[in-house]
Amino acid sequence: MPAARTTAGRVGRRARPDAGAASRLELLESLLVAGDPVQCAQRALSWLQRRAGVHRGLCLASDPGESPRLLPLASLGVPDAAAARFSVDLDMHDHPLTRALLAAGPVLMPSNGSGAPVTPLGKAEVQAIPLAPLRAGDLPAGLLLVTPSTPAVARDARWLGRVLGPRLAALSAAGRLEEAGRRLRRERGLLSSIINAVTDPILLTDGEGRIIIANARAEALLATDDEQSEGRRRAVALNNMLFSAALTRRAIEGAEAPRHEVPLVDPVDGSDLLFELLSTMTSDAREDTGIVSILRNVTDLQRASVELEENYRKLRQTEADARAERDRLDLVIDSVADPILVTDPGGNIVMMNAPAEHLFTAAGTPRAEAERLVQANDAHFSSFVSNLFFEGDSRRRSGSINLVDPGTGAALPMEAISGKIVSEHGEVTALVTILHDRTEELERARLYEELKKVSAELEVKVREATAELVRQNELLRRSHIALEQASALKSQFLANMSHEFRTPLNAILGYTSMLLKGVSGELSAHQRRNLERIDSNSQHLLSIINDILDITRIEAGKMPLTVADFPLVDLVGEVLAEVEPLIARTKLEVTSRIDRALPVLRSDRQKVKQIVINLLTNALKFTPQGWVRLTAAHDPDTDLVAVVVADSGIGISPKDQQVVFEDFRQADDSPTRQYTGAGLGLAICRRLTSMLGGELTVRSAPGEGSAFTLALPRVPKDAG
C-alpha cells in the first residue's frame, strides 16, 4: 500500500531516537482511519515487516459466536489460500493457539522439527501475541502470529497487541450493531406485514385501553381519519366504545370466561359483525402492562351456527319423518302376504318382509334340509336379480322363479316382479322384488283348463244330444203327424164303416120288424122265434157298432157335452124302466135306494144315463142269481154324488179289475168265454165319466159279486 508506506517512511525520518515512537504514532493514525478490521490487520502486519523485519505473520480475530473460533483477518508471507483456510476452534481448549489466546502475554511457540506445523507460518519458531480486548475482562480480540522471534519483533509485536486489539474489537462491534439494526428493521417490517396479513383484527392496547399497535383490519374498524365520511366516523366511534366495553368486561370477568363476544359495525357497509375477543396480558419490564387482543370474526360463524342449528333441526325432523315413514313402510310391507325383498347392486338382500324371511332365512329349527332349501332359494333369487341388474334399459322385469318352502319342502312357483330404484344420476341403487305365489293360480288355471276341456266335451255331447233330440223330435213330430193322420183316418174309417154297417143293418132290422109285425102275413110260431133271433142278433150287432162309434166320437173329440140340472131320482127311474124287459127275463131281486134329499145334479143327463144303464145291464148279465142293487147318495164333504151298482154276481179277480175298463176286453178273454159282448161297455163308461169330471171304480172279488161306483161332482168343476 503506497500511501501507508509513504506515511511510515515519513514518520521514521522525522524523529530518529524517537523514531520508534513516531513510527508507532504513524501506525496508530493509519489504524484509526482504516474502515474495517481486515484493513487494520494488514496495516499492522506491514508495519511489523517494515519496522521489525518480520517475515511471515498472520492476524486472527476471535469470533465469539455460538461456536467461538479464531478466524484469519490478514496474513504476511503466507499463501492466501492457506491463510484463508486456517481457523481454530476455541472449544478445543488444549490447542496451543487457544492457550496462547487466553495467556496473559506473548507466548513463544518453538519450532517442532518432526510434527506438522501448528500454524501456516511454517516450522520456524513463532511468537503468538494475544490482542487486547476492548473492555477488560472480555475475550481477547484476536491473536497475532509472527516469525522470526527476534527481541525487536517481540517488543513491537507486544505493543501492537495492545493497540490493535481494541481497535479491531471496536470496528467489528460497530459492524455488528449496524447489522443488527438492519435486521431489526427488516424483521419489524416482516412482522408488520404478517400482522396486517391476518384478516382478524389484532390490537395492542395499553393499561388505559389506548391503541398502541393495530393491524390493517383493526384500523379499518377502530381507527379513523378526517377524510372519512361522517357515517364511518360514527361507526368507528361506536366500535371503539364497544371494544373498550368488551375489554373492561373481560378485565372484570377474567380470562376464564369461555367466550367474550364483541358486536361491531362494519364502517364500510354498516352491516352487523360479531367478533370473539381473545386477549392476553403482556408485561414488559420497560413498558406498562399491555393487552394483546385478537378479534375473531364469528359473524359468519354465528350465521353458520344458526343455520347449522336450523339444518340440524330440519335434519332431525326429516329423520323423524323418515323414521315414521319407514315404520309405516315396514308395517305396510310386513302386512303384505307376498314376499318383498330389497337388494343392493351387489345382489345382497338389504331388506325383506316376514314372508320373504320365511323363504330366505332358515329361521326356527335350523334343519340341514331347510338350510339347503334356503340356499337353493337364495341361488335362484340371486340369479334372477343379477340378470336384471345387468339388463339395460328396462326398469321393470317380471318372470317366474321356482322356489321351495323351506318349512314343508313344497314347491312354490313364484311370479317375481322387480323394479329398479334409480338415483338421480341414473345409477341403479337398489332393486325391489315382489314375489307372488302362483300355486293357486296355476292350480286354478289347470282346473280351468280341465273344466274347459270337460266343458268342451260336454258341449260336444250336448250338441250331439241336442241334434239327436232334434232328430228324434222331428221323427216324433212326423210320427205324431202320421199318428194324427192315422187317427183321423181311423176315425173317418170307423165313421164310414159305421155308416156302411148301418145301412144294411137298417134293412135287416127293418125287414125283420115288418115281418114280425105281420106286414107280410101271419107267421108260424117257429118262424116268429127264428125272426126274433135274427132281430136280437141284429140288435146286438147294432149295439157293437154304436159302441165303436161312441169310442170313435170320444177320441175324435166329437162327443159334445150338454150340461143341465136334473134330479137323479128321475133318471134312475127312467133307467129302471128301460131295463125292465131285461130284468123281467131274470129271476134276480133288483132293488134301488135313492136318497130323497139327493140334490139336483148338474151334468150331461144323456151320458150319465148311458153309464148307469151300462153298469146295470152288466150287473144283470154277470149275476146268475141273487140280487142287484142300485143306490145313489150325496157326500156333502166332497160334494160328490155317487151312484153304486152292486150285485151278487161272479165278481172280478183283482188282476182283472183294471182289464175290464180297457177297450174290447172282458175279464174272460178266451174264445170260449161264456158271456157275449164286445167288451166296450166299461171302456166307454170310463171315458164318459172322465169327460164328466168324475171317477168310475170297482170293488170286487171272484164269487162275491161286484160293486161299481160312479162318483160325479155335483156341479162340474169348470162351471164353478
Binding site: A495, S498, H499, E500, R502, T503, P504, L505, N506, A507, L509, G510, Y511, S513, M514, K517, V519, L542, N546, L549, R553, K558, M559, P560
Partner: protein, 137 residues
C-alpha cells in the same frame, strides 16, 4: 077308418133301394101314400111336381146330396113349408147340426125301424099344422 082327406103323401128320398122298399112297404101298409126318389135332383123334381105332405130325406146321396137338396127346397116358396125329416146313417154330431142348418125339421139316425119313422111322420104332421097338400082354408 074314416078318410076325410086324401092320404098323406110322403116323398121318400134314399139311394139305397132296400131301405126305400122297407119304408114304402110299411108306410103304404100303414095307409100313407109314398113317392120315391133315389137322388137329390129327382127329389127336387118330384117335390116341386107332387107337393108331398112330408119329405123323408137321406142325407148321403150321390150327386146333389140331402143337405143341398133340403136347402133348395126350403129356399123355394113352393116347397118352403113342406117339413123335411132328415135320415142318416152318420151318427156324428156334426151331421145333425148341418141338417138343421140346411132347414130340416127333424133328424133321425139310422138304423131306424119303419114304425119309428111312421111315428116321426105322424108327430110332424100334428093336427092343425098346415099341410102343403091341404086346401087353403
Amino acid at each position: 077308418m074314416m078318410i076325410a082327406a086324401p092320404p098323406t103323401l110322403v116323398l121318400l128320398v134314399d139311394d139305397y133301394a132296400d131301405n126305400r122298399d122297407i119304408y114304402v112297404q110299411f108306410l103304404t101298409y100303414s095307409g100313407l101314400r109314398v113317392e120315391e126318389a133315389e137322388n137329390g135332383h129327382q127329389a127336387l123334381d118330384k117335390a116341386f111336381a107332387l107337393k108331398p105332405d112330408v119329405i123323408v130325406m137321406d142325407l148321403s146321396l150321390p150327386g146333389l146330396d140331402g143337405w143341398e137338396a133340403t136347402r133348395r127346397l126350403k129356399e123355394d116358396p113352393r116347397t118352403r113349408d113342406i117339413p123335411v125329416i132328415a135320415l142318416t146313417g152318420h151318427a156324428l154330431a156334426g151331421h145333425s147340426k148341418g141338417a138343421f142348418d140346411a132347414g130340416c125339421d127333424a133328424f133321425i139316425t139310422k138304423p131306424c125301424l119303419p114304425e119309428r119313422l111312421l111315428d116321426e111322420i105322424r108327430a110332424i104332421l100334428v093336427p092343425g099344422r098346415p099341410r102343403s097338400g091341404d086346401p087353403t082354408p
